[in-house]
């Protein structure tokens, strides 16, 4: 039984957890204050014979205080979160040296495309998708795609290196979610969305679909393996050999 957030597995995790904890502390103090206050009032001002309530319509001073304090807190929180948000999802947030992996979601499986030796993903097009021969719709006319490796339900990423996932969906909206990485991004048909992260701890994790996508939503699961760079290269070579020419 987990009583806290999942283990931290990416560079985002410490920042997001810090943010979470900070909000938890602020809201926790408010929560305890309000609930204790309520209990105190319930006890101290319970009805007793002969008592009469204190007749007042309010206090402008008190109201200004409890308007201003939340307002200031919220503005600070907004500014703090926005910096992190821009770093994770902002328009130009993807680092230039990020390693590209194509992630193609369909009912109810994940297909991962690895760029091969040239380090580039081939062009894909929804029109070219064929169920068994070309599950991600790689374009045979694009030379960058000839060495691409297409693997089902297994994501392999190198540790300590920014990875950018090019998310595409074939049918309905899915959502790319690895709890340990604290990364979640909906995968929308008709759009190619970039989502990046940097894994920090080698190991095996689970990738789940977190947007209702149909009957098999609950089992739309993939395994994420974080390797050291050497292991990753070895895995890549082994898989390429097994697969032969992955496409066309």
């Amino acid at each position: 039984m987990h009583w806290w957030l999942p283990p931290q597995g990416s560079t985002f995790a410490p920042d997001i957890d810090y943010m979470f904890t900070a909000i938890l502390v602020i809201t926790g103090i408010t929560f305890v204050g309000v609930e204790l206050g309520l209990l105190w009032f319930i006890f101290a001002y319970r009805e007793r014979p002969g008592r009469k309530a204190f007749y007042t319509h309010g206090s402008t001073k008190a109201e200004i205080i409890w308007t201003a304090i939340p307002a200031v807190t919220m503005v600070i929180m907004g500014i703090a979160s926005n910096g992190l948000w821009v770093k994770i999802k902002g328009r130009n947030s993807v680092p230039a040296n990020a390693y590209p992996i194509g992630v193609h979601a369909k009912q109810f499986e994940w297909w991962f495309t690895y760029p091969g030796p040239d380090g580039k993903l081939g062009r894909t097009s929804p029109a070219l998708v064929a169920k068994t021969t070309n599950p991600t719709g790689l374009d045979p006319d694009d030379p960058a795609g000839h060495d691409d490796l297409v693997v089902r339900n297994q994501m392999h990423v190198p540790v300590g290196r920014p990875v950018v996932a090019y998310l595409t969906a074939e049918d309905v909206i899915h959502s790319f979610y690895v709890p340990e990485f604290r990364v979640r991004q909906d995968v929308v048909p008709g759009m190619e969305i970039k989502s990046w992260f940097e894994a920090t701890v080698p190991g095996t994790y689970e990738l789940g679909c977190s947007q209702l996508c149909g009957l098999g939503h609950y089992k739309m699961r993939a395994v994420v393996t974080v390797h050291t760079q050497e292991d990753y290269d070895a895995w890549m070579q082994r898989t390429a050999k097994e697969k032969g020419e992955p496409t066309s």
Partner: protein, 588 residues
């Protein structure tokens, strides 16, 4: 016109010669329509809860035959084991029933209808026949939605948010008729809601009694008025979107079909542009009612009446520019994400004002813990949790992690159950004498309250914890994931609490029906309250008053110095009060 109608209604109050059907079925009396809405929405509350119980069974004991499950047809649960397609129908219909047909009808249908004319001192709504049409289209809409569970392939399976393309195509979701019936039902519901809203707004603006100025209106009327504005402007957007979804299904249009240049995100924008004001439609009336309950229970004027009104208006205004916080990870423009984050965080400010003002109302009061007051205080305590957990989601980076997990489920139930439903229960007990002329049983009311309060927290608080651990929503079988397996004991605990919670509601329903016939006869003003509704007999007669009351003060003059009792009705004329000036054309 009005005066003629008024005289006619006044005459009715003495001599009611309407037939049974006119009186109770196709009635134009706002009180009867409110009670009709009450029965309808309580029915849907029960059905929605029953669906939730099945969801909870499946989550706690995935794949095990459900007790009584073999009563369900083979297409839903062969041998009592729920099918994935039925599970998705349960998830979808639980959300739809609860949001649209239970809570929204309870708050807006029941309380707006019943309370607005009684509280502002009017004989009836501005448009009684439109009011009746509003009820019957809601009824038709509810029937269509309910029937959709029983058509071939069952009801919609796309979640109550109906994200496209899943909801738009049969080969994606596997539901055809059920999906179309969802759209049709929502269009009918939209019609009902718009007709209701325009009625409430007109009534509040034009039909207030003499002396009932804007700032002498009870907070519940303020909240219902502003809610009606939200509904008036938000629901047509949903109706438009539902029409597009329906055409997508039956005419083969391409609004949301990316293969033809359509945009799935557009649906989310339209849906949440309606959906977020909808969230406030589901909580603002509850806030208004709780203000009444707490002021009455504390025997004290509401703390900061004006700022309460401005907070309601502020929440309603901000409600229009925050819908994007449902879409932070949807692939929406991230700059919009920043904008929506700031506006969302700002909503915490008026919400905080309200919570502190309720506490200020209780401060140095003379707290009388009748059942409505218990529910009111529970509302404040639970809404605080729901409001504070909302801050986690407003912060975009944190939302990226907890979005679509049980943390969200916990949050929304803390607002909608811990908030709205507690206020609704409190409100039913409070205005029950005015509806049926009898009191609900106090002891059983208290037992129901405590059981509900305990099991409710047992059900929903642990959801925060499994949500933090990453438990996703809408999973048919969470044990598929290795990292969710350790959470199964917690899921079981939640489910057991949920069953007990549902069981506790039986007490309320029995109390509700029993009291209707056997309850203690209610006096005219059993709670010693100030509102105008307590100046007419219980139950209120057709037409409410023979001569409309005149209002001399605000609604919360409890424990005023110099008054003989600890309350001072709005219409009681003290020697120092002057009559409101009414020129023939202008009457404020």
């Amino acid at each position: 016109m009005t005066t003629v109608a008024a005289t006619a209604q006044a005459a009715h109050a003495h001599h009611d010669d309407r037939s049974f059907i006119q009186k109770y079925i196709f009635s134009t009396d706002h009180k009867i329509i409110g009670i009709q809405f009450l029965f309808l929405s309580l029915f849907f509350l029960m059905v929605g809860g029953l669906l939730a119980m099945q969801i909870r069974w499946q989550l706690a004991y995935p794949g095990k035959p459900m007790p009584l499950g073999n009563l369900l047809p083979e297409t839903m649960a062969p041998g009592g084991v729920l099918l994935p397609e039925y599970y998705l129908q349960l998830v979808t219909m639980h959300g739809t029933f609860m949001v649209f047909f239970a809570i929204m009808l309870l708050l807006v249908g029941v309380y707006a209808n019943f309370l607005i004319p009684l509280k502002i001192g009017a004989h009836d709504m501005a448009f009684p026949r439109i009011n009746m049409a509003s009820f019957w289209s809601a009824f038709a809409s509810g029937i269509v939605m309910l029937m959709s569970l029983f058509v071939p392939e069952g009801s919609s399976r796309a979640g109550w948010t109906m994200y496209v393309p899943l909801s738009a195509r049969h080969d994606y979701s596997g539901a055809e008729f059920g999906q179309e019936m969802w759209s049709i039902s929502i269009i009918l519901f939209g019609l009902s809601s718009i007709l209701g809203s325009l009625n409430y707004i007109t009534t509040v603006i034009n039909n207030r009694a003499a002396g009932m100025t804007w700032f002498r209106m009870p907070l519940s009327v303020w909240a219902l008025f502003i809610t009606a504005i939200l509904g008036l402007l938000a629901v047509p957007v949903l109706a438009g979107a539902a029409i597009m979804l329906l055409f997508e299904q039956i005419l083969g249009t391409h609004f949301f079909d990316p293969a033809y240049g359509g945009q799935p995100i557009l649906w989310q924008h339209l849906f949440w542009f309606f959906g977020h004001p909808e969230v406030y439609i589901l909580i603002l009336p509850a806030m208004g009612m709780v203000s009444e309950l707490i002021a009455n229970g504390s025997r004290k004027p509401i703390f900061g009446y004006h700022s309460m009104v401005f907070a309601i208006a502020g929440i309603a205004f901000l409600g229009w520019i925050v819908w994007g916080h449902h879409m932070f990870v949807s692939g929406m423009n991230p700059t919009l994400g920043s904008t929506f984050m700031v506006s969302t965080l700002l909503i915490a400010v008026p919400s905080a004002i309200k919570v502190f003002n309720w506490m200020g109302t209780m401060w140095r009061g003379n707290l009388r813990f009748h059942v409505p007051m218990l529910h009111g205080v529970a509302f404040v305590a639970m809404f605080t949790i729901g409001g504070l957990s909302g801050i986690f989601m407003a912060a975009t980076p944190v939302d990226m992690f907890i979005h679509d997990t049980y943390f969200i489920v916990a949050h929304l139930h803390y607002v909608l159950f811990g908030g709205s439903l507690f206020a609704i229960f409190g409100g039913i007990v409070f205005w029950y004498p005015k509806m049926f002329g009898r009191m609900m049983n106090e002891t059983w009311g208290k037992i129901h309250f405590w059981l509900t309060f305990i099991f409710y927290n047992g059900t929903f608080f642990p959801m925060h914890i499994i949500g933090m651990a990453g438990h996703m929503r809408r999973l048919y079988d969470p044990t598929i994931y290795d990292f969710l397996k350790p959470m199964q004991p917690m899921n079981e605990f939640i489910s057991i609490c949920a069953f007990l919670l549902y069981g506790s509601q039986i007490i309320f329903f029995v109390n509700f029906w029993w009291s209707m016939f056997k309850g203690k006869k209610a006096s005219q003003n059993p709670w010693n309250d100030n509102g105008l509704e307590w100046t007419t007999p219980s139950p209120a007669p057709h037409g409410n008053w023979d001569t409309l009351p005149t209002v001399y003060r605000g609604p919360y003059e409890f424990s005023a110095p110099g008054a003989s009792e600890d309350y001072l009705p709005q219409n009681r004329k003290l020697p120092t009060d002057r009559d409101p000036v009414l020129s023939p054309a202008a009457g404020h």
